[in-house]
């Protein structure tokens, strides 16, 4: 990246400076910023939808482009390739990439204080604790195998004692009893299971030693240096969006039936359930996206159990302080 100042970068700088100093912002040309989400449009990203719809990003002088995710999209790849400025990632993947591949990432915030991923089973054949997994068949998306291995190792369970099979995001095999449990968002799939006439039982991996964040906000060091002000503005606007959304989780999803959620194949009731269930996992004492020293230490400890070496330097909490 060269540091020559042309008209455009000058304007960007000016707009960002304006955003930071609280000048009247709407009058200024907005700075382009692109975010890569972790999955297709669902309630997991409600805060950003609110912030976009209500113009919170525009208020901050940002012209935000939102990219949806999918099974083959590795959010980290999008920011390495320079197609997005920031990405929502799973922290285990990101930290492994930093420590093993030398990727230059910084984690600047965390949407979920507690990872919503859990082991979901049926009440009539419940898996209540990691120990119950012994001898059972668990469906896990291949991408998340690392996380389940962490759970087993942290709870002293032999990996060979659990039969792990691929999970294709369809709860049918669980409801039909072909598998005993699956790894999924506990905020989401129990709703579907109830619709299929069964009752779900689940526990969070977080409550059994895998004390990880999820949807960590990740940027490259290069972007952090070049667009710091914009990133702070993004965090501020997104926090506003999340606060607004979580004030009453049932308000916004129905409004997006014809926009964000149109044609996703999911139902609005499902999204309301999701939005309500995720509230406690997102809200933090220090404000949404907080990363307290305690929480960071817990993340690093949990990852150590599966041989991933995280350090405090991988987390940059200074942007949160500037909000």
């Amino acid at each position: 990246m060269s540091l020559t100042i042309n008209r455009r970068t000058f304007l960007q700088g000016a707009a960002a400076a304006g955003a930071v100093m609280g000048l009247p912002r709407r009058a200024m040309a907005a700075t382009a910023l692109t975010m890569q989400a972790a999955w297709i449009n669902d309630a997991e990203f409600s805060g950003y939808f609110v912030a976009m719809d209500k113009g919170f990003y525009t208020d901050e002088g940002l012209d935000l482009t939102y990219l949806s995710g999918g099974p083959d999209v590795i959010p980290e790849s999008t920011i390495i390739a320079g197609r997005a400025d920031l990405a929502l990632t799973t922290p285990d993947t990101t930290i492994r990439a930093i420590s093993e591949q030398g990727a230059k990432f910084k984690i600047i915030g965390a949407q979920y204080q507690k990872n919503p991923i859990g082991i979901v089973s049926l009440k009539k054949n419940p898996v209540n604790t990691p120990a119950d997994l012994v001898g059972k068949t668990v469906a896990v998306p291949p991408v998340n195998t690392v996380t389940v291995e962490a759970l087993l190792s942290l709870n002293g369970i032999d990996r060979a004692a659990v039969n792990i099979v691929p999970y294709a995001y369809d709860p049918t095999p669980l409801v039909r009893g072909e598998i005993d449990a699956s790894l999924d968002f506990t905020t989401n799939v129990p709703y579907t299971i109830s619709q299929l006439g069964e009752e779900a039982q689940s526990f969070l991996l977080y409550d059994h030693g895998v004390t990880l964040f999820n949807d960590t906000v990740v940027v490259t060091e290069e972007t952090l240096a070049a667009k710091r002000a914009e990133l702070v503005a993004w965090l501020r606007a997104s926090r506003r969006g999340w606060d607004e959304n979580l004030a009453d989780p049932s308000v916004y999803p129905p409004q997006w039936e014809g926009t964000w959620f149109k044609g996703t194949g999911r139902t609005i009731d499902n999204e309301v359930f999701f939005n309500t269930a995720q509230k406690d996992l997102i809200v933090a004492d220090g404000g949404i996206f907080s990363m307290s020293e305690d929480a960071i230490a817990r993340n690093i400890d949990a990852l150590k159990a599966v041989g991933i070496n995280g350090t405090r330097e991988m987390f940059d909490t200074t942007l949160l302080e500037e909000i």
């Binding site: 297709i40 291949p142 194949g265």
Partner: protein, 525 residues
Amino acid sequence: MANRARFLRTATARNLLILVLVWELVGRMDWIAGGALPGLSEILIRLWVDRGDYPSHIWATVHASILGFLIGNAVAVGAGVLFVLFPTLLRLTRGFNIAVFALPPIAIAPILVLTLSGMAPRITLAALGVYFVTMSATVVGLSQFDSRAADVVRAYGGKDWQVMRLVRLRGAVPDILSGLRIAAPNAVLGAILAEFGGGGRWGLGTYLLGSLGRGEPARLWGIGLVATLIAGLSYLVFAIISARTLGSTRSVTLNTAIPDAGGGTPGPLPVRLAIFAGAALLPFVLWWAFIRLSGVPDLIAKTPLGVVEYLFLSDTSHIARGKLLSALAETLPITAIGMIAGLGFAFLLAISARMFPGFIKTFMPVALVTQTMPLVALTPLLVLMLGRGTSVTLWITISVTFFPAFVLLVQGIQRVPQTVLDLPRAYGASAWKELRMVSIPAALPYLFAATRLTVPRALLGVMIAEWLATGTGLGNLLNQSRGYLDYGMIWTVAAVSVCLSVAFYYAILLIERRTLTRLGMQTVE
């Protein structure tokens, strides 16, 4: 004869009706896998309920398919013309062409999503799906022209390119059209596959992904049927166009002059070796160029050298090699079995087509649905019926492989000259004996061609089963590597699976050439 045809048609209609009724009954009564197979009416009702969702998704899929179809075919026809004009070029690019044909889409999709953005991965996968078919059809069409018409042009002082323009290109139109007919559904399937993984907002693949989590088989089957319908319609459009234009290009009388065998002089050994080396290297050069042109950083986009370094030169190479080898040890044996099973199934069907034509006419629509139904949508059903062991892998592999092989074998059995068939008939041989002693041996070149088609697809089928159901082998390694952000492994698996497919293809080609030369038969393209 006309009576018999009418009888067959009514019989087919009757059988189809029975089939639909059985499906409906089985679905309604929840007989298969505790209701995982919905009845046809349930699917249609669900389709009607969801009708508002479909237009944008269908449009996105059709849009990407059409762009991929146009680009892929433009390149394919252009390449076909060049190959016929400069046969050396064809030999030089053979490695590349076979590689494109043998690319397992599930290994390539993640790589396209890594290196390209927006609609580009979908369009590319659609284009890759059409290239080989159309290119081969173009080459075949341009090579088999009416030499009498060419003689006329030459007699009036026409040059090679004028022969090309006035005779060969015109003569090749029916062949190219029949190529396009097969290519069109391929484009649709390629686009859907890339949508499924690629993170766009619209497209049937995206819709399928969102719907998977709902555990509603009727919706999944609905999406599958819509995909089938689009693929079928695209096939039909070109079938009609080609039926319309066929009459205007075909020679009125039979050309009795035998065209020269083609291929030309192979040249001295060093030249042949150089061309062979070039053909082997070209795919890697193009791979390297693709990465350089896409401008994606080295960390995520690996060049051929990057993969070599990953596998042999870095500190963790031995771990990577160990993972790869143990995955291959799981994948290769089942691929061999799957290939035999797929061919065997196709062979049985082809024989049944000869013995019981009515049965096969009923079976064809079902077979077509299995070809265009996204396997992801079927997996929960397959897993419930077959479990997660060898049998599910074999059935997925059979379903991915049998169709092209079946079509070729039927062609082979049908093309046995009538005069040859008259002999056993005159001696009162049974249909079975006639098949065994005449039709099957005469169709041997087609059996080999079918094997060549089947082998790369068998690997694809096994990888799909590993990815969706069993969680073993190369298919699973590819997916797990994404979770580990192990880019080196993602590229390695893609490269290894393509190399394996090409190697299989060549192995069959060698056996085929030897056997057929000994039997005095010609190979079938």
